[in-house]
Amino acid sequence: MTLSRRGFFRLTGTGLAGSSLAALGFGSGEAVAASVRPFKLARATETRNTCPYCSVSCGVILYTQGDRAKNAKSEIIHVEGDPDHPVNRGTLCPKGASLLDFIKSPTRVKYPMHRTAGSREWKRVSWEFALDRISKLMKEDRDKNFVAKNSDGVTVNRWPTVGFLAASATSNETAFMTYKVVRSSGMVVFDNQARV
């Protein structure tokens, strides 16, 4: 990328003293410099993302306040439809428009939780525990219900008792991997939110 830096300049207090302002007899601009001296700049970022709800996969813009570079706590302050996104052109449905409440919901699940059978309590568990537990249960179910051959003796390799639903904000590569993993296990019930 080539970029002409012609025209780039820092507009400083000293610069103002020699500017058009001064040339026409309107002073040095010192009052402007003094007027902003007590203040600080506040920084925000805007980030493109995809709405997680449905297969339309609307583009959204997340507004984040705070300076990540300085280790300060940053916080999402606003979510709106991405006007440049060809799918939704800035619009969102009521669910998508309330994404900020989804992000900030006190009941939002932020880490693996486990409720043992018969218990009323959800307890926070490690990812390792959760993944081990899920794979153990899946294996048990698959061993019990896997259909290798149908009644006519034709090989079908079906696992009809467990289903899989994958997410909306998924890249092609993720979708490819998901498909390969799920289908090679024999799982029949499978849907993916990302259909774009």
Binding site: L11, S20, L41
Partner: protein
Amino acid sequence: MTTKAPIADPVDIGKAASAAFLRLPDITTLFRRRAARFAALAGGHPMEDFLRFMSRLAEAQAESLRALKPGGLPDVEEIEAAKRDAMPPFAGDGLLDGTHWRDVLQAILKSVAAGEIPEQTRQVIADLGAEPAAVLDGRARAVLSDDVPETSRGAAVFIAAALQVRWAAAASMLTADGFQAFDEGKRCPVCAQAPLVSMMGPASEGQSTRYLHCRLCASSWNYVRIKCAACGSTEGIAYHGIEDTQQPVRGETCDTCHGYVKILSTEKELGLDPMADDIATTGLDLMLAEGGWERASANPFLLAT
């Protein structure tokens, strides 16, 4: 009577919200609105006298349209050919031909001189009024090519004011259809100048769509959000406001080129004017400069080093 209700097609919903690529200026209101905005911002402002002067200058621009003789534009075939080739039809100094822009300049000088102005301004006006056409054309070319000598900054304000009238009046005669992005959208598709600021909205053009505003011909063109208007990078873009990130005027800064272009949000404040609100937020420029950011394009009314 029964009518068959049209079935809503999701594709039509998408079409309805798509934004126009180019918005051409309306010169019947452009300069009067600008004058009113300058006047509204002036009260109690640290640059109050300058903003009041700018308001009078914008009034003078509005009045000078009467001095602008019709004609002096490229013919339709030329303009359409330029559009097809994605070339700005009013790029360069073609519109300096004839007496049009100098008629406007003399009208502006006359009406500003009629008011109360500082001695320096009066001197600048007197000097410009006496200069031959060739010298004035030279000054105009310097303004158009961002090459104004330090000693000519005062005069450049009046030259730029006249050029804005000439170019905006010409742009207002065009039809917006068929224009294409120039320099990947970083410069004006009508006259190839750099954007003065960028603006979000109005809502009628789709929700929070962003437009870059030309500092010469006052056209606005659609430009993708969260993208540097100076270098086109989409990495490391941030928004800086004074004390608050929800200010109507913020600096869109870029970590790639270390430049910034201000972004004005019409949804946060009604009546924002690209020129008036840019000058009225000079304090933001000073703070961004302190943070190490460089302004990517100069305001012709506030040239500095």
